[in-house]
Amino acid sequence: MEPLDLELEATEVELPVEPMLVNVGPSHPAMHGTVRCVMELSGESIQRVDVQVGFLHRGFEKMCERGTWTQVFPYVDRCNYVSPMLNNVGFAMACEKMLGIQVPERCQYYRMILGELARMSDHLTCDGAMAMELGAFTPFLWMVKARDLIWDVMEEETGARLTHSFGRVGGMAKPPTNGFKEHVRAVSAQVLSIMGEVERLLFGNRIFLDRLEGVGFISAEDAISLGWTGPCLRAAGVPYDVRKAHPYLKYGEVDFEVPVGTNSDCLDRFLVRIAEMKQSARIIEQCIERMADEGGVNVDDPRVILPEKEEVYSTIEATIQHFKIVMEGLKLPAGEVYSYSEGGNGELGFYLVSDGSGTPYRVRIRPPCFLATAGLERIITGQMIADVVPCFGSLNMIGGECDR
């Protein structure tokens, strides 16, 4: 059979390309959550894209306005549900800033250890899911195994594996268990060794690296303008970490580094998270050394801390105190506050407005990954359609936090 285009120059042969609309999501195995991307494709490259979020909106900010300040904890748990402890602590810190109270040193270290464990579990989930979406299923199982070890600690401490609701204004729900330090040490070492195996599995894999390297670039200026924080911003080379820039708890006293990327691509975002896990392990080690074995974890302030159950059942004063805190709620002074901490995805902010009654007037949660997802449009426009998967995975969009 004779070829038809023998006399044509290669440049004249042009395939008819018409822009095509492709819907991905809201429920799609590659979408890492419930997000919908409507893309206009020319061939395989993305001309325009509309990213739609909100499919997991549950109206938390409205619900927060109906209960007491303490009743907000379960809601913030369900924002970033892969690192709920960081949200718990972040919200507790916002209320404490308003009340002007400082938790005891033991509690600060306890919060830091649990928080860094939660950060590790957050990064494990993100990196694992990212690898899985690119076809590397084994590393995902490895990382989920590591995450499960962390959740064992959480279960031991809080009684729940996923949504702990463990934070309290002025302390924590329970003091550390007896074997806490040994347990955390063992788990942290195990997680690091599993991460070593994962790195050997992935970084010798040409396909994995090729799909991440140079994909999803964003300049540092754009990232800042988009309000990116956390690992995504640090991968762009900006060493902004709330724990370093505005130290809270005892982060000013522990020794750790802020890993930054150089190329600002998907691979850097992946590597920054791995490096941060190692830094988290360093922080945990130092906190374990410094945390006292004895002493309370709650402030000595009857306005915010529930009395011991024994006393509630035996004395009238404690019964009244318990009743006032539970039924009327904590009386946060009237006014407003913005408190921020480093969540799994970046700066987790709480803007609280109180009218002095026991019920929040307004609870605004500043979700770091809402703004990261806002940048998805920018990083995938002009890329190939196959790049959407690693780009989206590298932003670590957590539906619950993004949509609230």
Partner: protein, 205 residues
């Protein structure tokens, strides 16, 4: 910590600053709504402030006050590490006309933050390029974070959306929410008679 910023804003915009406070250590400037964009632009570009990140933008509803809504922004300078909160009151008592200038020309993050604020509280950002609902669906009635929106309100069921040439589609239409609309290419490569289908001829020259 950032008291010098408050002083600076007061000095540069004496008419625009209505009041200031530093409750719980958060420096706050309450602005006249008309100066909203101008003050933000100054804070972003001035060498002494360099507020390169719009961390958060939201609004609070105070039904008893007039103007009724308070738009709140939180700025951060990565270089200096200082933060500032700016507020401006806007809106009539009914919440019908609630307008403030957009900040999308200054920070890219303002795009989605303002869309969320519009969605949740019904604040219209004048000049926003793409102001539509973001967390809720287009048929949603009301703005849920307003205080006069009952928390237990039930939204009406939405009928199937009508899309040309398709008899019945799910509520999520193929081009739902897209700012650029649905593209058709019927003029190209297809014969006029739909029964005939793809002709295999033609195309752009």
């Amino acid at each position: 910590m950032a008291q010098h910023l408050v002083d600076l804003v007061r000095q540069v915009f004496p008419a625009a600053v209505l009041s200031t406070h530093a409750q719980h250590g958060d420096e706050t400037v309450v602005l006249a709504a008309s100066a909203w964009e101008e003050v933000h632009r100054f804070l972003k570009n001035d060498a002494r402030t360099k507020m390169d990140m719009l961390t958060d933008l939201t609004a609070v509803d105070y039904p008893d006050r007039l103007p009724r809504f308070e738009v709140v922004s939180h700025l951060l300078s990565l270089e200096f590490g200082h933060r500032l909160r700016l507020k401006a009151a806007v809106g009539d008592a009914d919440g019908e006309v609630v307008e403030i200038a957009t900040l999308t020309a200054l920070w890219a993050s303002a795009n989605w933050l303002e869309r969320e604020c519009f969605d949740m509280l019904g604040v219209t950002f004048v000049g926003h390029p793409d102001l539509r609902r973001i967390l809720l669906y287009p048929e949603f009635q009301g703005h849920p974070l307003r205080k006069d929106y009952p928390a237990n309100k039930i939204q009406p069921l939405i009928p199937f959306r009508e899309v040309d040439n398709i008899e019945k589609v799910a509520p999520f239409g193929v081009d739902e929410g897209m700012s650029f609309g649905r593209q058709t290419h019927d003029h190209w490569g297809r014969s006029e008679d739909p029964g005939q289908g793809w002709s295999g001829q033609g195309g752009p020259n």
